[in-house]
């Protein structure tokens, strides 16, 4: 009889032990495990992550002149020209003309980001804030990259300030008082207020003064096309 019970325990206990061990401590077991995509927490522990983010910000600077798609009839800078003394909308075989500003610049008007015959108002807004997002990404995650010296860190921060200041400068002169975003959101936010144009300009001026100090000359940068001290100076002048 006793052996009977002993047999039972000896077969039962290892089974239970095995399964209890198989399923380890619950908390670690349920950690999400991203494998095939870049997650900010892991990507921004190296310098290349920062460089990659600045690369797209750099690319965005060109899009004013060439657009990221195939733009056949006009590029975004054309919209700026039409709104200034430099150019006038010339298409005559359209029934309605978009330079009838009273009809086109309305809250329910078309807000295109990619067009070949219309105004690129949507492009300025979206691409402007995209550039600000890329700059804010660098500024938010730069502390994760622990392997950098303070100088190199400042260089990246300076370059990010340049991109952010460039976008905000254009946006305030195009749209006036706009929402000020200075970091990547961690929780969704629905309530935003516009910040006064003057306050934004003050902020970006202060940022650019630091950038001029920190961003090295072109001779010290590895590639042409990265933001350099000269560019920062030029922007500060503006």
């Amino acid at each position: 009889m006793k052996r009977y019970i002993k047999n039972k325990i000896s077969t039962l206990a290892p089974l239970v032990v095995a399964t209890a061990l198989l399923v380890s401590c619950s908390d670690d077991f349920l950690e999400p495990d991203p494998l095939s995509f870049y997650e900010p927490e892991t990507t921004f522990t190296t310098e290349t992550g920062l460089q990659a983010t600045l690369a797209i910000a750099d690319k965005g600077l060109r899009n004013n002149y060439i657009h990221y798609n195939a733009a056949s009839n006009s590029v975004p800078i054309g919209t700026e020209y039409v709104f200034s003394d430099m150019a006038k909308y010339g298409k005559t075989d359209n029934t309605s003309t978009i330079s009838d500003f009273a009809k086109t610049i309305v809250p329910t008007g078309s807000f295109k980001t990619a067009t070949n015959d219309d105004f690129y108002l949507g492009f300025y807004w979206d691409e402007g804030y995209n550039g600000i997002k890329y700059a804010n990404t660098v500024l938010t995650y730069i502390d994760n990259v622990t392997s950098l010296t303070q100088d190199v860190k400042n260089k990246y921060i300076g370059q990010a300030y340049f991109h952010r200041a460039y976008r905000y400068l254009n946006l305030v002169y195009q749209f006036g008082d706009i929402p000020l975003i200075t970091k990547i959101l961690e929780v969704p936010k629905q309530s935003y207020y516009s910040t006064k144009k003057e306050a934004i300009i003050e902020m970006i001026t202060a940022d650019m003064e630091k950038a001029v100090e920190w961003v090295p000359e072109q001779s010290k940068l590895p590639y042409l096309g990265l933001v350099n001290k000269g560019a920062c100076r030029q922007l500060l002048i503006k």
Binding site: L15, C25, L30, T43, D58
Partner: protein, 1108 residues
């Protein structure tokens, strides 16, 4: 109970482990004491027995047809003595000569036979109509049907065997509350939904029910299970029944149990089927004569206008044919116009008609200008593209199974081979499925079982394209005057001529190859330990491997394809999942009245996928090796990528079932689930449920004789749904955009391409389970010894925390975030009635009727409030705003249709009215319901004119099944089902057949009526109609339909004939699937089948089943 769970919840897992140790200790102590007691009682009984006179009793137990019944339990009433009848139904036991024997068997009424001094008895058992003793699988255990407290429907696969169901979905049609979709593909199948759409999030099969196969969660698709291997299916509908499961239990659970070996002689079962597959509904295209008439009508319609002299709206007023009646008609049929051929010819200047035959002139006027098409038109040379697109397919389905059981081992092995050809040319599917199950009783307290399931199936094929967008490759629309083969006998690449092109599947098919499919190995291992005091412990683990392969090749030998854009696609994927559970169950009855079953389950799962894709393009110098060669691809045009995912989940569950005197039953369950996709901050959620049932006909004060079953069920519970299309949506990610680069220039002047990354998705660490709270009231009634049985269920389900994309302001850097919001409610009623109408020896007739009605309402969405204004514009309150982009409105069903209302067609005497909105007779009338924004009496169409027109998901579903049995050997089954109350919008009545210049390019459109001056219909618009500016023109159609789904006839050879051949059963059967359809909308027949909206197939099946 809750104390138990709280301890297990603590993150310090050491305490949990300690608890297990304690439990084992308790078990051991209890078992020790029990064993002692048992030993004592055994001794005493045997002692007593020796005193009285015992005789050896021999007997035979037969079923109601006179055939021996093996496996029946024969026991001596009042004692523990019992035996089981052997293969021939014989038994031998020792009993007192005055004892009473009790013979019982599942599905038969228990019989008592008094021995009265006889030593040899013969017993005939009667099949019991009552199903109360039937065993139902409820999740981590089995329960008798009479003890059920939840809403569960059982389907026995044997009953449907004569229909030859090709897929599991075919077995499930007709269950009230379960909506089964229809697939006209060779593979078959269909979507499943229980009790209405629970969530607005529907990606990745989120709202389809959880599948449990032989007790373990099933991660594959239903095609992997051979319907011939299924013993029974239990559909769990309400919260209490499904709450023992996690994952996506809120969407309902389908529990599939496969067949086991039966005690007795080993059985070999062979089933063979041949099915002929034909198209039963699809839009037609014009025959050559119809095509010509259609072009004539199109051109004539362009000449409609108002005759200034008479004021009538008639033909030949405007355009090139003004004043030229019969301009577009056949020159040999000009009698109706009263003109001669010379006059007809003279309609055009002589310069244009010189040197051309009459038919050539006519073709030119009809717009047939391409040289090749015109030549065939005049010669009358045609090709039937419809015939080339559809075919009669032949399916073969062969299954073999061997099964048997002894006292210690139970085995079931089967293999099945299916090859199917769909109604569309090129639509092929084949699958091999094998199953091996062994259950062994190693000792009287240890059982071990293994269930191995293997499938190798093809996935996808190269079938003729049937897309209807103007840019899709579609062979049906080729002009009847186009060519199929060139003069040299090769398939024509451009059937419509070199200018227009066209599409010929047969030419393209020569240059394409595809091998694509899945190989699946699904295994389940069970271990069950029976401990004393009614405790059982079982450990179940189910590892599963799924391998996916895709080899697709397009050859550059095709003259229309450029080598740089085609080549080889190779994809290989592996999916490995395992889930295991430890179950502890205690089943005890106190004082014969109190029955308790307590179950504790601990569960864990892991899912991992790995996939690689190679897209090799521009294979030089030659791609003659097909998809076997990717090394010669040009790197610049090719790409490759990989995608791996990893998810985990675990759970703890406790359930208590208590029943008092078989009259009052109570089930309480609590389950805590965790899932890694919600893992960032708190991945767990707790789901409790409680259910109560009352067998009121067993009460002493209830004396109504006809009511044989009466049970009232009440349940309430919470369930979760964790199914996501992408398990990582709660994490932020960095995207590479289009994969392009930013070019920098290094100091030596070389270009450096740097790939960039941008933050793409916002993290939501608080993403949680979607939760559904459901309550259900059910009534099970049975009359006249369960000859009429019915079940009524009324339910209300509220789903909140749905996984939705909340829009964020774009300037924050993110467009949306995945979060839990909103609330959806489903309320409804399900009724099912089963009756045995006639039961005579030579004629039996049973009917099953199922009916369900579901009402779906959105109660809340994003929480954005907007002002409510009264007639004067004053704000009187706030309400939540609707999501107009997705068509979700507060207080309306998810599938609500909100659009402009089309009320008819402008007729010829309404030309002036129509002109007010820039329309002509033949154009559709759109109702201008909001007139406050009209300008000067001219209707303005905008969003304010849209109305709520109905819903697209059917609220009503009923099914009816009649089974007849003649002369014991003939079985006839007639099955029908219907969906009612739903509508859909369709704009094809507008006949805009020149989209993408299809008309100008001489393509053949689909056939449907159209408005002409001679045919002033109010349901179809003129050819090439236009709507008013600003309004949509889709018309509402009623999609209610009834389908006579299946008629099958089977003949079972009489047993005495077979007895001589040593064959157990032999059955021949024939069935027709999708016999006929009746649609509420008369117009829908021009669009196709009312259920699918397009293609439907009819299958004629002949098969036989042999059992040895």
């Amino acid at each position: 109970m809750t104390n138990f769970i709280r301890i297990k919840k603590s993150p310090d897992c050491v305490s949990g482990f300690n608890l297990k140790k304690k439990l084992i200790l308790v078990c051991v102590l209890v078992s020790l004491s029990q064993v002692q007691a048992y030993a004592i009682s055994n001794k005493s009984t045997t002692g007593l027995k020796n005193v009285q006179s015992e005789k050896i009793i021999n007997g035979q137990v037969d079923d109601e047809d006179g055939m021996p019944l093996p496996g029946a339990t024969v026991s001596v009433k009042g004692t523990k003595i019992g035996v089981i009848t052997d293969v021939d139904g014989k038994f031998t036991l020792k009993a007192d000569e005055n004892a009473v024997l009790e013979i019982s068997f599942v599905g038969y009424t228990t019989k008592e036979v008094a021995l009265k001094g006889n030593t040899t008895i013969k017993v005939k058992m009667q099949k019991s109509a009552s199903t109360l003793d039937e065993v139902v699988v409820v999740g981590y255990g089995k329960m008798k049907k009479k003890d059920l407290t939840g809403s569960i429907v059982q389907v026995k696969a044997e009953a449907l065997a004569n229909q030859n169901p090709q897929t599991v979905q075919d077995l499930l049609r007709g269950v009230p509350g379960l909506k089964v979709g229809y697939s006209a593909d060779a593979k078959g199948g269909g979507s499943l939904q229980i009790r209405g759409q629970t969530s607005v999030y529907s990606d990745g099969g989120h709202n389809s029910p959880l599948i449990i196969l032989d007790g373990m969660q099933f991660y594959g698709e239903l095609s992997e299970i051979n319907p011939d291997d299924i013993g029974q299916i239990d559909i769990l509908k309400d919260a209490s029944a499904t709450s023992v499961y996690g994952s996506k239990a809120a969407a309902g659970v389908i529990v599939i149990s496969t067949k086991k070996g039966k005690t007795g002689k080993p059985m070999i079962n062979v089933t063979t089927n041949m099915t002929v597959n034909t198209k039963s509904a699809y839009r037609d295209v014009y025959s050559p004569e119809g095509y010509v008439k259609y072009r004539e009508d199109w051109e004539t319609a362009k000449s409609y206008g108002t005759n200034t002299a008479t004021g009538n709206y008639e033909a030949w007023i405007t355009g090139t044919a003004a004043g030229k009646a019969g301009y577009f008609s056949n020159p040999n049929q000009l009698d109706q116009y009263g003109i001669s051929q010379a006059q007809w010819l003279a309609y055009q200047p002589a310069a244009q008609t010189q040197g051309k035959s009459l038919n050539e002139v006519w073709g030119g006027r009809l717009g047939i200008t391409d040289a090749l098409l015109l030549k065939n038109f005049t010669a009358g040379k045609t090709h039937d593209w419809y015939n080339s697109t559809f075919r009669t397919g032949l399916n073969h389905d062969h299954n073999l199974s061997v099964s048997g059981a002894g006292d210690k081992v139970n085995y079931y092995m089967s293999v099945g081979y299916l090859t199917a050809e769909g109604a569309i040319q090129g639509n092929d599917y084949n699958a091999v499925r094998a199953n091996m199950k062994v259950d062994a009783k190693i000792t009287d307290w240890l059982e071990f079982g293994a269930n191995v399931n293997f499938q190798d199936r093809s996935d996808g094929d190269i079938a003729v394209g049937t897309g209807t967008n103007y840019w899709d490759a579609n062979m049906l629309r080729n002009s009847p005057f186009s060519i199929f083969k060139e003069t040299n006998g090769e398939y024509a690449r451009q059937p419509m001529g070199p200018t227009i092109g066209g599409y010929n599947y047969y030419y393209d098919r020569q240059f394409m190859e595809l091998e694509k499919g899945y190989t699946v190995l699904n295994t389940i291992f069970n271990t069950k330990v029976t401990l004393p005091a009614g405790i059982t412990y079982s450990f179940n683990v189910a590892p599963r491997y799924e391998f996916f392969y895709n080899r697709y090749f397009q050859s550059s030998g095709h003259k229309g394809w450029s080598a740089a854009t085609i080549g080889v696609d190779r994809e290989s994927g592996k999916k490995f999942t395992w889930n295991l559970n430890n179950t502890l169950a205690w089943d005890h009855t106190f004082n014969e009245k109190h029955h308790i079953v307590a179950t504790f389950v601990q569960e864990a799962e892991e899912l991992q996928t790995w996939s690689d894709i190679i897209r090799a393009r521009n294979i030089q110098p030659s791609d003659a090796l097909g998809f076997h060669n990717t090394a010669n691809a040009t790197l610049l045009n090719s790409s490759f990528s990989t995608n791996d995912t990893h998810q985990t989940a675990n759970a703890l569950m406790a359930r208590l079932f208590y029943s008092f005197d078989n009259r009052y039953m109570l089930t309480a369950t609590v389950r805590r689930d965790g899932y890694s996709a919600f893992g960032a901050s708190y991945p767990y959620a707790t789901f409790p449920s409680v259910a109560f049932a009352w067998n009121f006909n067993k009460e002493s004060w209830f004396n109504w004789e006809p009511l044989s079953t009466g049970k009232l069920r009440l349940s309430w519970g919470k369930n979760g749904n964790r199914s996501l299309a992408d398990p990582y949506i709660a994490l932020a990610n960095l995207g590479s955009g289009t994969g392009a680069t930013m070019g920098y220039v290094d100091p030596s002047g070389n270009i450096v391409d740097m790939k960039y990354l941008a933050i793409d998705r916002m993290a939501n660490p608080n993403l949680q389970w979607e939760k559904t709270t459901a309550s259900n009231i059910g009534l099970d009634l049975g009359f006249l010894n369960d000859r009429i049985s019915s079940t009524i269920d009324i339910y209300r389900m509220v789903t909140n925390d749905m996984i939705m994309s909340q829009r964020l302001p774009g300037f924050s850097g993110f467009g949306s975030i995945a979060t839990n919001l909103g609330e959806v409610e489903n309320r409804g009623i399900e009724v099912s009635i089963n009756t045995v109408n006639i039961k005579n020896p030579n004629f039996e007739w049973t009917t099953s009727l199922g009916f369900s009605y579901n009402e779906n309402t959105i109660n809340a969405l994003y929480g954005n409030m907007e002002d409510v204004k009264d007639a004067n514009g004053n704000v009187i309150g706030t309400k939540e705003s609707d999501d107009k982009t997705n068509g979700w409105f507060i207080g309306r069903p998810i599938s609500q249709i909100w659009d402009y209302k089309v009320t008819g067609i402008w007729q010829k005497d309404e030309a002036v009215e129509a002109a007010k909105v820039n329309q002509r007779p033949g154009d559709p009338k759109v109702e201008n319901s909001y007139t406050a924004d009209d300008v000067n009496g001219k209707p303005t169409y905008n969003e304010k004119d849209k109305q709520f027109l109905g819903e697209a998901a059917p609220p009503i579903n009923w099914s009816l099944r009649n089974e007849f049995r003649f002369y014991k050997n003939w079985d006839l089954t007639i099955n029908m089902y219907s969906y009612a109350g739903h509508k859909s919008l369709d704009g094809r009545y507008m006949n805009t057949y020149n989209d993408g210049s299809l008309y100008t390019n001489n393509y053949n459109p689909f056939v449907n009526p159209y408005w002409t001056i001679d045919n002033p219909t109010n349901d179809w618009a003129r050819l090439d109609a236009r709507g008013p500016a600003g309004a949509g023109t889709a018309k509402l159609y009623d999609r209610t339909f009834i389908r006579l789904d299946n008629i099958s006839l089977a003949y079972t050879l009489p047993k005495d004939l077979l007895g001589r051949l040593n064959v157990k059963t032999f059955k021949i059967y024939a069935s027709v699937q999708n016999v006929a359809t009746w649609a509420a909308s008369k117009e829908w027949k021009y669009y196709g089948d009312p259920e699918t909206g397009g293609l439907a197939t009819r299958m004629f099946n002949l098969g036989f089943n042999l059992s040895l």
